[in-house]
Symmetry: C2
Subunit: 97 residues, 2 copies
DNA sequence: TACATTTACGCTGCGCGTAATCATG
DNA sequence: CATGATTACGCGCAGCGTAAATGTA
């Protein structure tokens, strides 16, 4: 499981919109769909309810938000401490390091 | 960056031996080398000093042990809470959840 | 019709194993 | 020569983008 997928999930969850998440992350819309689907299949849970165009996060999704934040926080912290020049891909979402 | 690589790193660091790590993780020796190398290149640091056949973990490596443990801990916790039947690939190393 | 997500599909690159090579004791 | 790490190399598949399809307002 790539750490990137958790970042994607966080952005989608917070924006409630895959299109905007795709733009923010410099991916395409179908790629976002695929990444979310990969997470859902991996954990065996549905992360969003798709009602029309709207995304409603599920209870499992809400839980994963917390884990994703912690995961990325640790990852970013590692990058910042180990690397002199971290890639900083996820820093905009690291709000508890 | 795949979460698996952190697990591999932890095992190698604790065993001080890539061959044994490969056996434990059901990978081959060259695969372990590649995964460690990927981590080293990604973070831009050397994780082990190779002196003959011996591996000596570097200061950066020692730091990454801590981050890897925390990362896998969060990941396993997520799996255990979200999935009814987690894959449990990393449970044998999750000692602080 | 406009907009957002999903599906279909081909392609590229990463990561794997096998085999060969290097290096130490 | 035995053992362990690395390098070389080919292959398979995961994940990407483009294009088409589906579904709502």
């Amino acid at each position: 499981m790539d750490i990137q997928f958790f970042q994607t999930f966080l952005i989608v969850a917070k924006l409630g919109n895959m299109t905007q998440a795709a733009e923010m992350l410099n991916f395409t819309q179908p790629t976002i769909t695929g990444q979310i689907r990969t997470l859902e299949q991996h954990f065996g849970v549905k992360l969003f309810d798709r009602v029309g165009k709207k995304l409603y996060i599920t209870d499992a999704g809400k839980k994963l938000i917390n884990y994703s934040e912690r995961l990325l926080s640790v990852y970013n912290e590692a990058q910042e401490e180990l690397s002199i020049h971290p890639e900083s891909k996820f820093r905009h979402c690291n709000n508890n390091g």
